[in-house]
Amino acid sequence: MKEVKLDGFWLPRSGSTLAPEIDFGWNVAMWLSIFFFVGIIGALVIFVMKYKRRSENDVTSTVDHNLPIEITWTVIPSVLCVLLFLVGFKGFIHAQVAPAGAMEINVTAQRWSWLFTYANGVEKDNMLVVPKGKPVRLIMSSRDVLHSLYIPEFRVKTDLVPGNYTTLWFEATEAGETTLFCTEYCGMSHSDMLAHVKVLEPAEFEKWLSEEASAKAKGLPPEELGKNLYTGKGCNACHSLDGTPGAGPSFKGLFGKEETLADGTTAKVDENYLRESILTPAAKLVKGFPPVMPTFQGQLKDEDVAGLIAFIKAQK
């Protein structure tokens, strides 16, 4: 995954038209905080040095109120708070209302992968490709639990709620790549639920989108299709290719193996076993692994399943 590029000490690079306004709010809060922190801690240090106990018979002040001072330190922060609210309000409304004519992309999240669907039917797993300089609106939902889509360089974040659509929008300002995170805890591989974000020049984007559309029409050889699905559907989060067991068995040398199941019986890993395990993962669980795999019923077409089987067969 690409690193999140920074701009200065605190914040990521400003990669969308929303970022400057949010960063303005950050800067206002930062300078106010520094002002109050220095004032409060400065006073604390001075008082502690000046009024440290000299003797047991120190006579201490009995001043216990001072109305003008108390009004001042209540009213000034209140006014500042209203101003801060307004700064946040403006930026928030800007981020909530997408410009008319924004390009729409559907986002479907599932443990632990992202699916981006374009208007022409192109589907990309764990890769969001967008044009530079054009507003993009994401229409998002989840298939299972809560997720949250977060692109630090764009300063956007919104939860994905099953049974509901949420939206966000942004306009990328520079071509390049960055990372998208899931920021609502969603279980075992939550921290691996990342996606590439690619910002292309508008002409390049159009070219990419039509190429993807024709590649989709043509179809890929099964093993290559399987390979794409392996990373695209997030199989790689749990099933390694090098023999190390993850949350599920490694694919290395899996095909043809005799597995012991959780109920003590055994099963031979053949085409039917693999198909069943993809579509009904809990049916024949291999011993020693937790029952955490979601079903892919309804998300994979027959040729996708065949492609995955071909890919698994190739992992000798």
């Binding site: 009024y51 000299r54 018979n57 216990d64 109120h65 708070c81 609210f85 930026g91 974040k157 921290s191």
Partner: protein
């Protein structure tokens, strides 16, 4: 520096050396006691055990985050570790610790009462706490729990871990909290000695009163929410799960309707302690007594109106987000007023560099950072970027640990001579405080930087670019752990080798310093008279 409480006590009815600790002997005398002081001590031991357990899980979480990918825990174990850290610290330590242990011990003495209004209910609350704790921890043995302490649906409906035992345990713990709150409210209304008006009470009691109001009003909402969650998991009743026709965001509304006020259950008692520490150890009449007292009540009430600020990006309506942001800024005001009043109380004082004062000053430093960073999160637009990142984790640790835990330790060191009758090694006590302060900032200031740079929370694995900061934070957690161990060592060794504590080691003016250390079972040997206010340090008998 101290005199005994002779001016307040007439006709001592006890033999020399008798106190609440040695008045009766044997385990059964403790388990069946209705003495608020003994119940407070048992609460203290129980909550400190919980703190140790929750802290151990925190150290495990930090250790795993030393490097990206797997260091020594699996993803599942890591998810369970941070869930248990949060759940134990919130429900078994920070909510019950100050009310159950410290307020239980000092509240009746501070108002000149012999006990709380319902001593048996007080003991019942401890037993309910123990029962709840056992049910919660049984979840660890029966499959663990990996939902995070917030139990968000639908994850908590579908995970295979022991959500029911944990949430049922929290449900039971809620009653312990309600019993304590109820007891304190009635006690403060009915059992103040003649002459102790509301505005003659130490400020710790105002804070405790405000806390009790929240405990009674908010906790039932959590209980109902958890029952609904259990019903959904156990019987498939569709409340929160969209596949059953429910609404997952509804759970968040219910949960934060309790849990945001609960944040004030956690911090208000700490604020109350700090008011005592600063006044007594600077021997200075509190500046703005009324403002501090009323701001506690204001926080308790305003705390009910801001739950939606946990959900700015959760899919609630924009209008709701805007209203909650506006209200949230007004919670900042009472907290700010308190900080200014504490500062003004240091002005013109006679500041003693005791261990409790060290904790009070640490509190002021850390709570100021915690409060100011809360402002970042209250700004709607900035919250979009910071929500669910390490910035939030750092913010609430600055408030909860830098605030409440520092105040709790300060209070423990402040009242330790009263509770145990022993003085501790003040130099080592201060050293421990300094180590905790340094370790805390190493651990958590780093997390502000991680968060602002985009590092999401609850991540087992992370991008390589975040590794140096994560490692530094982990080193900080070791310093922090060492500080706590030293702090515990100081207290434990005082029990064996500490000098006998006088009745009033700090020159305090409130009533608990006008009875012997440790007090007799009835708190005061004779009748109690209120001769001066809790902060009249220049009055006779306090110097």
């Amino acid at each position: 520096m101290a005199e005994t409480a002779a001016s307040h006590a007439h006709a001592p009815a006890h033999a020399e050396g008798t106190n609440y600790l040695n008045a009766q002997k044997g385990l059964m005398s403790w388990l069946t006691t209705v003495d608020h002081k003994r119940i407070g001590v048992m609460y203290l031991i129980s909550t400190l055990v919980a703190f140790g357990l929750g802290g151990t899980f925190a150290l495990l979480v930090r250790l795993e985050l030393l490097g990206p990918k797997k260091d020594f825990l699996t993803a599942d174990q890591y998810n369970q570790a941070f869930t248990l850290h949060g759940a134990i610290m919130v429900f078994l330590f920070i909510i019950p610790a100050v009310p159950g242990a410290l307020a239980n011990f000092v509240l009746p003495i501070m108002i000149g009462a012999k006990d709380v209004a319902f001593p048996k209910l007080n003991l019942a609350s401890l037993y309910v706490y123990w029962a709840g704790a056992i049910i919660c921890l049984s979840a660890v043995l029966t499959g663990g729990i990996d939902t995070g302490w917030t139990f968000y649906t639908p994850y908590s409906t579908v995970t295979s871990t022991s959500v029911i035992s944990m949430t049922f345990g929290v449900f039971v713990l809620g009653f312990s909290s309600i019993f304590t709150g109820l007891n304190f409210i009635v006690t403060l209304h009915k059992l103040r000695v003649p002459g102790m008006s509301w505005f003659n009470m130490p400020l710790f009691l105002w804070a405790t009163y405000a806390t009790s109001v929240i405990q009674i009003m908010a906790t039932p909402v959590l209980a109902i929410t958890l029952v609904l969650l259990i019903a959904e998991r156990a019987f498939g009743l569709g409340i929160f799960d969209p596949t059953l026709g429910g609404d997952p965001v509804l759970f968040q509304h219910f949960f934060w309707f309790y849990s945001h006020p609960a944040v004030y259950i956690m911090i208000l008692p700490g604020m109350g302690i700090v008011s005592e520490l600063i006044a007594v150890h600077a021997r200075r009449r509190v500046f703005g007594y009324h403002a501090i007292a009323y701001s506690s009540i204001a926080l308790a009430l305003l705390g009910f109106l801001v739950w939606g600020h946990h959900m700015f990006v959760a899919g609630q309506s924009e209008l709701a987000g805007v209203i909650f942001s506006f209200l949230t800024f007004f919670v900042a005001i009472p907290s700010g007023v308190k900080v200014f009043n504490w500062l003004a109380t240091l002005w013109g004082g006679s500041i003693a560099f005791t261990t409790p004062m060290f904790y009070a000053l640490s509190f002021l430093f850390l709570f100021t950072i915690g409060g100011l960073t809360g402002v970042f999160l209250g700004i709607l637009s900035v919250d979009i970027h910071l929500h669910d990142t390490y910035f939030v984790v750092a913010h609430f640790h600055y408030v909860m640990m830098g605030g409440t835990v520092m105040a709790f330790l300060g209070g423990l060191y402040h009242w330790w001579p009263k509770i145990t009758g022993r003085l501790y090694n003040d130099g080592l006590g201060k050293l421990a405080c300094i180590i905790i302060f340094v370790g805390f900032n190493m651990t958590f200031f780093t997390q502000f930087i991680l968060g602002s740079r985009g590092m999401p929370r609850r991540y087992y694995n992370y991008l390589d670019q975040y590794q140096p900061l994560h490692a530094f934070s982990t080193y900080g957690s070791w310093v922090l752990g060492a500080g706590f161990l030293l702090s515990l060592f100081v207290l434990m060794t005082s029990l064996r080798s500490g000098a006998k504590a006088p009745a009033n080691p700090w020159g305090g003016a409130s009533l608990e310093w006008h009875t012997q250390s440790p007090p007799v079972t009835e708190n005061f040997p004779g009748t109690v008279e209120v001769k001066h206010g809790p902060y009249d340090f220049n009055a006779e008998g306090t110097k």
